[in-house]
């Protein structure tokens, strides 16, 4: 479960890291693409249409100037000014034409189509006029406001003058303005439609992805019965189907694991019950044997020689050893089955645990001519813990220290480790532990020497229980040892 939560957190972290999602990224990229494409297309359309409109005006201008030239040729030669004026007046009825000029062969203005022509007989010296005068073909020139078209007038092969027409660009400009407006508006509408369609398209892609993401998230949260419905008839639908198959498989596997776990728990409980029952069955007759042996011993205390006393001693030790082994097995069984309920309380390590135990084990130490000392460096070594397991924890450690020490002694220290932490160290001058065994030290039923040749009695449960008791009391245990020199077991508690 912890791993799942971590994964979800990681996923969220990744999601937060990428602020721009696929949807936004696609929308931006495609919108930009459409914008560039639309703009280029609009510009191209505008240019094409402007070109067409300009070419149409030029074509119209060419047609009119050609007609005028043909019409004016004879009139110009005959100096029939009224006829030329009439032609020009007719041309001037075209709203796009703002001026018409007819020049003689000396480039003098003959008429502009009006009788009040004040420019009559003037020679036009501007560049356009000179270009028109010097050219032998139709000349088309755009100025800021006009399209100036001019053509030479020939009668047979003699040039008799020049005709010139000015087309206003107002109509053209208005039309170009209209073209631009229409194109820009239609471009914008098409862009909007394009973006909308792209959005729909992206939705078709991202929606299934979102569904898959939600499905994955649900699976990560342990919801395995969630099915993803994607009907896109493409790879995404296949992916969703595969995902659904995967969750079904996981669900099946999970149920199998749960069933197996339940079975294992049931077996463990049966084992614990069996052990408890067996322990009871063994302990009761052993207690009976020991009680009656004690009665017999007290009855014949005065008549016993040393040999008989030793025999009683052996019986007593054997009985006690058997009961202790059963107690350890029962304790380990309770811890493994989870049936032990610790009762946490405020405990003074020195007064409630270490000092009484040191006193108790001093007798055993003295029996082996070993010293057992206790040094306390803390005024109020209070912790929160379970008294029974704490007593068991240090009793086991002291028992081991005495058991594996043949000369020298055992020193117990209670001191401050780091801030708010207490350390209880039990240092002995015993046989020590080989480095390679230290890793297995706290495994149940393990001893450095195995088999019938081992020198020390025991069942290998003591240190395994010590480790469990440390865990129950939120303590940490460390071992430092050197073969032949001794060992130091340190238990570190959090204060209070």
């Amino acid at each position: 479960m912890n791993i799942s939560i971590q994964k979800i957190a990681m996923t969220n972290k990744i999601r937060k890291k990428y602020k721009i999602g696929i949807r936004q990224r696609f929308t931006i990229v495609f919108s930009l693409f459409l914008f560039i494409l639309g703009t280029a297309n609009t510009i191209n359309n505008i240019r094409t249409q402007e070109k067409v409109v300009k070419e149409r005006l030029i074509s119209e201008a060419k047609t009119i100037i050609t007609i005028l030239e043909a019409s004016a040729a004879e009139y110009l030669n005959d100096l029939r000014i009224d006829q030329i004026r009439e032609d020009l007046n007719f041309i001037l009825t075209n709203d796009e034409i703002v001026y018409t000029y007819v020049f003689d062969k000396n480039n003098r203005l003959i008429t502009d189509g009006t009788t009040l022509n004040k420019m009559r007989h003037k020679v036009f010296g501007d560049e356009i006029s000179l270009n028109a005068y010097n050219s032998n073909e139709i000349i088309i020139q755009f100025t800021d406001n006009y399209l100036d078209v001019s053509a030479p007038v020939y009668l047979n092969i003699e040039r008799t003058g020049t005709v010139r027409i000015g087309f206003s660009l107002n109509v053209l400009n208005a039309e170009i303005f209209k073209i631009r407006n229409e194109n820009v508006i239609s471009g914008m509408i098409l862009l909007a439609i394009g973006i909308m369609l792209v959005n729909i398209l992206i939705n078709r892609i991202t929606k299934p992805i979102n569904l898959l993401t939600e499905g994955t998230k649900a699976v990560a949260e342990g919801v395995l019965n969630k099915k993803i419905e994607i009907k896109t008839s493409d790879e995404l639908e296949s992916l969703a189907d595969a995902f659904n198959q995967m969750t079904t498989k996981i669900q099946e596997t999970r149920q199998g694991i749960i069933k197996a776990k339940e079975q294992a728990e049931k077996s463990d409980k049966l084992k614990s019950e069996f052990l408890a029952q067996m322990s009871h069955e063994i302990r009761t007759p052993v207690n009976t044997i020991m009680n009656f042996t004690s009665l017999i011993r007290s009855d014949i205390e005065d008549q016993m020689n040393d040999e008989i006393k030793e025999s009683f001693e052996i019986i007593d030790n054997g009985g006690r050893r058997l009961i202790r082994t059963i107690d350890l097995i029962l304790n380990m069984s309770e811890l493994q089955a989870g049936t032990y309920t610790p009762q946490y309380q405020q405990i003074n390590l020195k007064d409630n645990i270490i000092a009484p135990l040191v006193n108790e084990f001093k007798i055993h130490a003295e029996k082996k001519d070993l010293s057992l000392t206790f040094s306390n460096g803390i005024h109020h070594p209070n912790i929160t813990g379970d008294k029974y397991t704490l007593l068991q924890l240090f009793a086991n450690l002291l028992d081991n220290a005495i058991k594996y020490t043949h000369q020298g002694g055992i020193n117990v220290f209670l001191e401050e480790a780091v801030s708010n932490k207490f350390r209880v160290s039990i240092a002995d001058t015993g046989i020590g532990i080989s480095e390679k065994y230290i890793d297995n030290l706290f495994q149940p039923f393990s001893q450095e020497e195995q088999g019938y040749t081992r020198k020390f009695e025991g069942n290998g449960l003591g240190l395994a229980l010590v480790k469990r008791y440390c865990e129950l009391n939120n303590a940490e245990i460390n071992v430092e040892s050197e073969k032949g020199l001794g060992s130091v077991f340190s238990v570190i508690f959090n204060s209070r």
């Binding site: 495609f30 459409l34 494409l37 639309g38 297309n41 609009t42 359309n45 094409t48 249409q49 067409v52 409109v53 100096l79 029939r80 000014i81 009224d82 006829q83 004026r85 009439e86 007046n89 003689d104 003959i110 008429t111 009788t115 009040l116 004040k118 009559r120 007989h121 003037k122 039309e175 073209i179 194109n183 239609s186 471009g187 098409l190 439609i193 394009g194 369609l197 792209v198 398209l201």
Partner: protein
């Protein structure tokens, strides 16, 4: 795939935008309403530029009709003919009520139709005008007697300044005239030849470009059409002065109606709408009364001319 379909659709749509922008303006045709002849006042004019003449005169005709509502006039109409004979026919048939032109065509039509001049029309802000006979400044022709054997370019046969005034001047000076169709015809030594340029502006150009040696036109046209090149010309002589234009009304109208028309025209320059109508009508500033004395003087000039012409024709 759908994305490319969308792009292709957008692209094709925008490419296929029709750029054929045909002019959608449609000509408006107004149905001619059938209106009784008595409800229409018709203004007549002689010109070759018929459409242009109608455009120039229509505001004037409309103004007149609007002011003659009390006489049952509902519409003003412009009638343009290409010659005075047709105009005379239309006046006699009652199709034209008022005829406005320079004195010679007016009196020529009056010879053929029942027409009475009633007002002076100050066209181009000119009350009276005269004709000049001119030639190139470097010409050897200096006086009337030098004209013999040469060709004079005149405007047209019904022009007052471009025909009537110069020919009446020459006739009154005992010069015999000969009409020719082309300017380069050979003129007898004892006569003065004349041909028509059909346009005062052309007359000036003909002389300046030596198509003919001599030209005759009104004084305004002489200066206006020669422009900067006036120094290249010289005047040989000039005619008597006549009113620039006259307004004539056909006979048969009630005097109250005629007086009302005279009153409207004489007061036309005093109203804004009248000024607007006058402005488009050859830049007319106003109409002025034609006194009995003026009329009798003009009539005398024309009587003499027609008499001498009739004598020559006989």
């Amino acid at each position: 795939m759908p994305f490319f379909l969308i792009i292709t659709t957008i692209f094709l749509y925008s490419c296929n935008q029709n750029i054929d922008r045909q002019d959608e303006n449609k000509n408006d045709y107004t149905d001619q309403q059938t209106i009784a002849r008595e409800s229409i006042i018709s203004i007549g004019s002689v010109s070759h530029a018929i459409q242009n003449e109608i455009l120039l005169l229509q505001p004037f005709a409309d103004f007149l009709s609007e002011n003659l509502r009390e006489f049952g006039i509902k519409k003003g109409r412009v009638v343009v003919t290409r010659n005075i004979e047709d105009m005379a026919i239309l006046i006699n048939s009652g199709e034209v009520d008022i005829y406005i032109d320079s004195p010679y065509p007016i009196f020529s039509v009056a010879e053929l139709a029942n027409l009475q001049p009633i007002l002076k029309h100050l066209r181009d802000n000119t009350e009276y005008y005269k004709s000049v006979i001119f030639t190139k400044a470097d010409s050897e022709i200096n006086e009337l007697k030098d004209l013999k054997g040469h060709m004079i370019a005149m405007e047209e046969s019904y022009s007052t300044s471009g025909y009537f005034l110069p020919t009446s001047l020459l006739i009154s000076n005992g010069i015999e005239l000969a009409k020719f169709d082309v300017p380069d015809a050979v003129v007898p030594e004892d006569k003065v030849g004349y041909c028509f340029s059909d346009d005062d502006e052309s007359t000036v150009f003909w002389v300046l470009n030596e198509k003919v040696k001599i030209g005759a036109t009104d004084i305004t046209s002489y200066y206006r059409n020669s422009g900067d090149r006036v120094t290249e010309l010289k005047m040989i002589t000039s005619s008597i002065e006549l009113p620039r234009q006259l307004v004539a009304i056909r006979d048969g109208f009630d005097s109250t109606y005629v007086n009302k028309i005279k009153e409207i025209l004489l007061e036309m320059d005093e109203s804004e709408s009248g000024q607007k109508a006058l402005e488009s009508f050859y830049s007319t500033t106003k109409f002025e009364d034609l006194t009995e004395n003026e009329l009798s003087k003009i009539e005398k000039v024309f009587d003499e001319y027609f008499d001498s012409k009739n004598c020559n024709d006989k």
